[in-house]
């Protein structure tokens, strides 16, 4: 069982079973790691903002780097109108990043390797962006589906294509994060299994692969959080500055 590469994705209950109105609300290892990442984020930012020095300490430096990174990303991709949404995008980025990074620790559970988590995040973003778009532009937001400068004959076809394009946003957003995390962790586990089964003589090659893959996985963990946040900014930009 321990050598099964998919075993690491199993969700199991921790503590007592809680059933409310036939819905299983028990505390699982997934909930534990989500809680851990939330606590880690709050702890880091609390330590970072406790003492505001001119010359920042370690924690303050890290917090400032994260803040500047997200602030620059929002102003670059969505413009100044998106400034009010900074807290949302910042927490989104930090949550995904910390879930991915905590998953890189040995024996840890990767929350983002489950499609239900990423799909829920993506659907929330999708609904929020759609609501913001309709609030800002009224029914003019539907112009997003009717690009200008298209001959009248092609218009119905283009509109259908644009609607498919719009609806596929949450799917591609969630599948990208989930698939990358799950594939990476499965691959790490498979190479780890090779090390055990090949023993002292032949295990060195998969071990070196494993080390290299760990580095790659840390890069992917950061990159996927970045992509998730930047795509949210791009969608927000479409909703705020309608230019089609």
């Amino acid at each position: 069982m321990a050598t099964n590469p998919m075993h690491q994705f199993q969700v199991y209950r921790i503590g007592p079973e809680i059933n409310i109105a036939d819905i299983d609300l028990s505390f699982t290892n997934a909930s534990l790691f989500m809680l851990l990442s939330a606590v880690a984020i709050c702890g880091l930012l609390f330590l970072g903002t406790k003492e505001k020095k001119i010359i920042p300490g370690k924690f303050q430096l890290i917090s400032e780097i994260f803040y500047n990174f997200i602030a620059k990303m929002i102003s670059d991709t969505a413009g100044s109108k998106a400034k009010p949404y900074f807290p949302f995008i910042f927490s989104l980025f930090m949550f995904v990043l910390f879930c991915n990074m905590l998953g890189m620790l040995p024996y840890a559970f990767t929350v983002t390797s489950h499609i239900i988590i990423t799909l829920l995040l993506a659907i929330f973003i999708f609904v929020a962006v759609t609501v913001i778009g309709f609030l800002k532009h009224g029914f003019g937001y539907l112009k997003l589906f009717v690009p200008s400068g298209v001959p009248a004959v092609l218009l119905p076809l283009i509109t259908v294509i644009e609607i498919i394009s719009y609806l596929s946003r949450p799917v591609s957003l969630s599948v990208r994060l989930f698939a990358n995390m799950m594939a990476g962790h499965t691959m790490l586990k498979v190479f780890g299994g090779f090390v055990i089964s090949l023993g002292v003589l032949g295990g060195w090659l998969p071990l070196s692969f494993s080390v290299a893959l760990t580095g790659l996985e840390i890069l992917v963990a950061f990159l996927q959080a970045y992509v998730f946040a930047i795509l949210t900014c791009i969608y927000l930009n479409d909703a705020l500055n309608l230019h089609h």
């Binding site: 001119i54 076809l157 259908v160 294509i161 644009e162 498919i164 394009s165 609806l167 596929s168 799917v171 591609s172 599948v175 990208r176 698939a179 990358n180 890069l219 990159l223 996927q224 970045y226 992509v227 930047i230 795509l231």
Partner: protein, 95 residues
């Protein structure tokens, strides 16, 4: 007070150095281009999948199996390819 002024000039110099070095390294551009590579590949698949799912749902609504699923599969493919072209054009404009 002189200490603070000294610090200010040192900060200015450090900032200048940082600006120059950030222009030289293209690591940030590198990672964002890797990000857009991930975006392009999943976008293409997601468009086809969503198109097919829409076709499937409409088919079971209107009882027209299997025509709408075929049509929407192709529409999804077209949407995916158009989207990739659009993103690639945007990336070229940036450079």
């Amino acid at each position: 007070m002189s200490n603070l002024n000294d610090f200010k000039t040192r900060l200015k110099i450090a900032k200048k150095k940082l600006e120059n070095s950030s222009k030289d390294t293209d690591s940030s551009r590198n990672s964002s281009s890797m990000g857009s590579a991930f975006k392009l590949s999943t976008d293409l698949v997601a468009h086809v999948a969503v198109g097919t799912i829409i076709g499937f749902i409409l088919d079971s609504w209107f009882d027209t199996k299997p025509w709408l699923i075929i049509i929407f599969f192709f529409l999804g493919s077209i949407a995916g390819i158009l989207n990739v072209i659009k993103t690639a054009k945007k990336m070229q404009e940036k450079e």
